[in-house]
């Protein structure tokens, strides 16, 4: 009898989630059991254990391995969403959006496009901020923007599919102030539009400089850019 009830509950759950394709980016699948408080406590303990990750390892941006593992508010919320196995709820989404909005800083002279050819190099480069056993040396080489890892851009190179295709980005959308701001926000902190997205916060987390963002934007929008050819 009890087994029957359990099966019925699972079927009902499957039905309610069947029409829903998103479970929050990078999250558990619907119907999986959320972890216990004990599991979460042990995961935190192991994350910061002295004999686990190298807590004192120096990082390129300054600070240590421990700092990299320490979560900010957005990361904590988005971990909870991932562990829930459910799509993000409206209240949580609003909170993540608000945190993102507060994080975005705009260039003093307004949003401008930089050099698309430099942007192309940045978009292709996966270099930068990697540490583990072989830390990237930022003094020898500029960190990249890693765009091609997840996005298709100019089609002469193969991009990933974790993010949507950005081929012909500017050609399709034009370059109004509104779309420039939208794209700038997406690069600076995409959680403002897609709360708990897989995409990194390149501006808010200090991965890209203001100039680098302008160059990547040029790669997306400049009519001469290979993205739009």
């Amino acid at each position: 009898m009890r087994k029957n009830i359990t099966i019925a509950a699972v079927v009902a759950l499957a039905m309610t989630t069947a029409g829903c394709t998103t479970t929050g980016d990078g999250g558990m699948s619907g119907g999986m059991k959320p972890p216990s408080a004990e599991a979460r406590a042990l995961a935190e303990k192991l994350t910061f254990a002295e004999n686990g990750f190298v807590q004192e390892q120096p990082m390129q941006e300054g600070g240590t391995g421990r700092d990299r593992l320490t979560q900010d508010e957005t990361q904590k919320i988005c971990t909870d969403v991932a562990l829930s196995g459910k799509p993000i709820d409206d209240a949580t989404a609003s909170k993540v959006r608000a945190l993102a909005k507060a994080s975005i800083k705009y260039p003093a002279g307004g949003i401008k496009l930089g050099d698309w050819e430099k942007g192309r190099v940045l978009a292709w480069s996966g270099f930068g901020f990697r540490t583990a056993h072989k830390p990237d040396n930022h003094k020898k080489r500029e960190p990249g923007a890693t765009c091609y890892n997840c996005h298709q851009l100019a089609t002469d190179r193969t991009g990933g599919t974790i993010g949507p295709s950005l081929t012909n980005y500017g050609k399709i959308r034009g370059s109004s102030d509104e779309i420039l701001k939208y794209a700038y926000d997406m690069i600076y902190n995409p959680n403002v539009t897609f709360p708990c997205t897989n995409m990194p916060r390149f501006g808010a987390n200090g991965v890209l400089t203001e100039q680098q963002i302008a160059d990547v934007m040029a790669y997306l929008f400049d009519p001469k850019s290979l993205v739009n050819k």
Binding site: G26, S36, L42, G52, Q57, T64, T131, P200
Partner: protein, 281 residues
């Protein structure tokens, strides 16, 4: 041509010796059967080239060298590893690899295969952890990779079945699951960023999905020859590579933190046949 024949002879000899030990197929046959059941799977079917290499996988030679090392009297105590208990009794290798990580009463710890092998080399054979035989963990030329490939191969084709009987086994598996979804670092990545959806690619590479056990068994079937690196690589080598791309600090080999992650990822392949050794990009 001559090279091909020379490669084929030891591979054929090896296939015979494995058959004698177990009604098992070669790793190539295990994989092709998995592929035949999952014909449309993008991850599993992404490399015909690797499949063609597999019957002559250099890892088969690495395993042969491992067998010799396993049986050789070595270390300050001049004993072989045949007395090592990988969880199924001293010297029992068949099916041992796919049941790890598991709890060991003699150390009161959940151990990965790698940490258990180190334990035996130190306690049984008398090696020091700093001796190169133990310390050198990566590359087909290392004793550790030779031994690992040989021992893992004795579980080829068997279903992944990491133990979850002891409370410590279950606790680490569950903590590993939380860590898989825990987001941090400058890129906000967790493991699920890449492995939380099916059929997605990083650049040209199709990624395995954690909730698809048929994909996941190939994902966790290490040791495997990484064709692009021309070396046999281990489970930990893969985990380290992921953490590197995730912009995480270095993870210490043999740590409980590593065991937790490996416990979860092995559990995710439960019941699916292990491909040992595998061939990967």
């Amino acid at each position: 041509m001559l090279k091909k024949i020379l490669l084929a002879i030891p591979a054929a000899m090896f296939a015979v010796s494995v058959q004698a030990a177990e009604p098992s197929d070669s790793p190539y046959e295990v994989l092709t059967e998995l592929l035949s059941k999952n014909k449309d799977d993008l991850y599993l079917n992404q490399s015909q080239q690797n499949l063609m290499i597999m019957p002559d996988d250099p890892a088969l030679f690495t395993a042969e060298e491992g067998e010799a090392l396993f049986k050789e009297k070595r270390g300050p105590k001049n004993v072989s590893l045949e007395g090592c208990d990988f969880g199924k009794g001293p010297g029992v290798l068949k099916g041992a690899y796919v049941e790890m990580p598991r709890y060991f009463a003699d150390t009161d710890k959940v151990m990965t295969f790698e940490s258990r092998l180190v334990h035996c080399m130190v306690t049984l054979q008398g090696f020091d952890k700093k001796d190169k035989q133990v310390k050198k963990r990566h590359g087909s030329g290392s004793d550790m990779m030779k031994l690992t490939t040989y021992i893992a191969m004795q579980s080829n084709g068997m279903p992944w079945n990491s133990r979850l009987d002891h409370p410590k086994e279950k606790a680490l598996r569950d903590a590993g699951e939380v860590m898989f979804y825990r987001r941090s670092g400058p890129m906000d990545f967790n493991c699920a960023t890449c492995h939380g959806q099916e059929g997605k690619r990083i650049r040209a590479s199709v990624l395995p999905y954690i909730n698809n056990p048929a994909e996941w068994t190939k994902a966790v079937s290490w040791p495997a020859t990484r064709v692009g690196q021309n070396n046999v690589r281990s489970t930990f080598h893969r985990v380290r590579g992921c953490l590197y791309q995730m912009r995480y600090p270095n993870l210490k080999q043999g740590s409980e933190t590593a065991t937790a992650l490996i416990s979860f990822w092995t559990d995710a392949a439960r019941g699916q046949p292990a491909i040992l050794p595998d061939t990967k990009r």
